[in-house]
Amino acid sequence: MNGVAYPVPVFDLTPILSVICFLLFTALCVILYLLLSKSESHREVKNAYDKIMASFDELDEQAKLIVKTDLELNKAQEELDRRLSGLNTLQKLARNISMTLDEQEIFKKIDEPLLKKLGFSRSLIATYDEEELLAPKSSINMNTDKLHAALLKLIGDAQFMHALKSGATFSSLNSSQRTRSFLVDLFDMEHFILAPLLTQRGVAGILIVGNRYQAPSVTEGDEEIIAILSSQISQALENSQLFEQVYRSTQVLETRVNERTKELSSALKDVEDISKKKSEFISAVSHELRTPLTSIKGYASILITGKVGDIPDAVKERLGKINTHSDNLVKLINDLLDISRIESGRVEMKTSAHYIKPMLDNIADLLTPQLRDKGVVLRINVPIDTPEIEFDQSQVERVFINLISNAIKFTPSGGSISINAHANWEKKEIMFEVADTGIGIKREDLTRIFDEFFRVDNEINMTVKGTGLGLALAKNIVEAHFGRMWVTSEPGVGTTFHFTLPLKHEAPQDKLKKLKTVSS
């Protein structure tokens, strides 16, 4: 068998390979390009991420600053709130303690709720006693058994007491380690403020407040508030002590005043008794004198008429004198009787309404002879609208007659006497003045001028006789009418007697108003 050779087809792979190679190369390039570009993008992303992280870190740093500021603000706010609350409490306390003047009450006002509001749980107030030792007056949540010993130890520390006397406030915040340990041990308070109670006389005691353990430490604000509190307590204590002193002084004074009042009352009563007895005596004596005097005067009158036989002229003259002296004596006795009656209230003023002008005109008529004899002019100045007033006419006439007679007596010839009257509606009285241009009264005599039996020592009185009862009687009559009498005088110029009588009627203008009201 012959073999047949078949031609084997031959394929040229080169172009295919070339294409593949090209494709591979292109893919490689693309991949390379992609890889390159992705790496670029990654770098960008990374950069951006880094930037963001950096921003976050920056943000965080700023946040830390904010936190720091915020913490400080919170702390300040807390402190402010505490202070405001403390001040509010303090203000209430100040009001409370200022309202009491009792020392014990002041201590009672500082109670536990108040202390808690101030942020403390324990307190002690101690003041110096008479032995110059600190004695506890009020304490809250303190071991009272140990207080005396602690206070003794405290005043035993000369260095501390020296600083305290200078007014220093001690606290667990500002004290030296030594003082701090000393006070912590004494009062069993880890956080404390101790302030002196300062008065004008120096340190009167101490106030200590604080907390034991695991409590917030005291602040400067607390120190200030406790310093104010101690000052308020000191002030209140001082006020209470002053009040005590004033109270005691008042008590002593009151006792003395009462004693003196009793003495004076007793003396007054004695005087009144004596005065009454005097009046009664004068009254009795006057009565007893008047009876025989009437007989003497009667007999003298009979003898003078010659009914019991002729009498010589010399006797007649002497009988006339007996008669005149008897008249004077009767007048004197009558005046004395009147004074004693008025003083003892046995004379009732028979008042009725009168116009003053007609009465004064009558008196002027009565006294005209004397005025003419003496060459003295009398002027009566009473306004037309002077109202009617209520008085006892016979008595008030005596007053005017007395005053005018006196004026005539002491006014030299050519002088004048004026009687003035004017109504004072506000005081509801009429004021009268009897003024002369006489010799006047010396200053030292003015105070005694209304005394009974007092007669001014002058030439006229030496020659003209008088009883010294006229002015006393006039004053008594005026006062019995609820009026007043006084005198003003200037030697060599003249004297004015003033007196008032009450006015019970309404003012003319008021009357007019009423009339208008009625008519309208």
Binding site: L59, K64, I66, D70, Q77
Partner: protein, 395 residues
């Protein structure tokens, strides 16, 4: 159908007298022989059994719950001392109160689930509207307790709660329960019937500094933040101010600068206080923490507090559809009160401006609040929060 509400407050220095004064004020306002429900809030010095007995004699309450607090809210005032009593008499609102067994005796979730079932009891068919509770236990994880309640009552059931403590130093609070004063329990009141209820909550805190990631957490403990011990976040910001002995916690710093955990809800943060620091630097909070969550240091101020109050009150107003609530319960965070200081009462005025002046405002300061984040629509997200103001309007 009517509801009578009365609020009484007293800060008489004698606790028993204070209870009497406040109770008499409530009685006068209620003008009823007895009260269907009484809620008591009192500062620690007024946690007084004799006072509670006096209250019972005067108001004869059918049900009573309450808690001690560092601040009582009574109508126009926020007080650091005193006792405040809310009394309600109603034939349209029905109340049921139940308390837990001691919280330490059983797991929280089991305890609260049992409580929820007890609450449902005879209220199965009633128109249940909302639950309020007070719980003692500031350092516990409160999330399981809430989950147990939600398991029993339903995930979207409106719940608000207050974690109580007696002061800023975090002394545990006491719970008023009928005639007793208890610790380590929770007391609840379930409300049902024909009523309108609204919830509003807001916190007003704002994030500060850069965000960080919780890289390790377990339950209510944040172990690591950005792979560093959690406390390093505070050390970073506060350096020397952090106490050397961290066993007592961060103190005021934790209150004033809490943590903000960002949630799914846009621009909302759940606020958590660091209540404890563990020896490894972990931070303990009052609610559960999600690993991977973003965390911020938060900062607040008076204006932010007021804005959030405005926000919460507006939520109440909007949800009440023009009706003025008869009662407004307020759970106010202790830290917010600290920030507001003397102007704390202004918040109440602001709330009344928005909600209505006839509303009786009653509440307390709490150390943790349980509420939905925002208005009542978000009840499915109800969680443990801190530093918030929570309002519940009942009308």
């Amino acid at each position: 159908m009517s509801t009578h509400v009365g609020i009484g407050f007293s800060n008489h220095f004698n606790p028993e007298e204070a209870f009497k004064e406040a109770a008499i004020a409530v009685k006068t306002r209620l003008n009823q022989p007895s009260a269907d429900l009484v809620i008591v809030t009192a500062t620690p010095e007024y946690a007084d059994a004799a006072g509670l007995a006096a209250l019972h004699r005067i108001l004869k309450p059918t049900r009573l719950i309450g808690a001690t607090t560092s601040g009582v809210i009574a109508d126009e005032r926020v007080e650091a001392k005193g006792v405040s009593i809310l009394g309600v008499v109603s034939d349209e609102i029905f109340f049921k109160t139940v308390r837990t067994a001691p919280l330490n005796l059983a797991p929280m979730q089991e305890n609260s689930f049992k409580l929820a079932r007890d609450l449902m009891g005879d209220h199965q068919t009633a128109q249940r509207q909302g639950l309020v509770y007070f719980i003692d236990g500031i350092k516990k994880n409160n999330t399981p307790f809430l989950r147990g309640l939600q398991e029993g009552l339903g995930r979207i059931f409106p719940i608000i709660g207050g974690i109580v403590c007696e002061n800023a130093e975090l002394a545990p609070g006491k719970i008023f329960w009928d005639t007793e004063l208890l610790t380590d329990v929770a007391a609840t009141v379930l409300m049902s019937g024909q009523l309108t209820m609204a919830i509003g909550s807001a916190h007003g805190w704002r994030p500060l500094g850069k965000p960080r990631i919780i890289t390790s957490a377990s339950g209510n403990v944040i172990k690591m933040i950005d792979n560093k011990p959690a406390v390093s976040l505070y050390e970073d910001y506060f350096k020397d101010l952090i106490p050397k002995d961290l066993s007592a916690g961060l103190g005021n710093i934790g209150l004033l600068y809490p943590l903000g955990l960002s949630t799914d809800v846009a621009r909302r943060y759940t606020i958590r206080n660091p209540v404890d620091i563990l020896s490894d630097g972990s931070i303990v909070s009052q609610g559960e923490i999600r690993e991977g969550a973003r965390v911020h240091l938060m900062i607040g101020d008076k204006d932010a507090c007021r804005r959030s109050t405005h926000e919460a009150a507006t939520m109440i107003r909007d949800a009440m559809f023009g009706k003025t609530p008869k009662i407004l319960l307020v759970l106010e965070s202790l830290a917010r009160r600290k920030i507001l200081g003397r102007s704390a009462a202004q918040e109440i005025h602001l709330i009344k401006e928005i909600v209505g002046h006839t509303t009786q405002v009653f509440g307390l300061c709490t150390f943790g609040e349980i509420a939905p984040p925002g208005a009542i629509e978000h009840t499915k997200d109800t969680d443990v929060q801190n530093q918030s103001i929570v309002l519940m309007g009942i009308g």
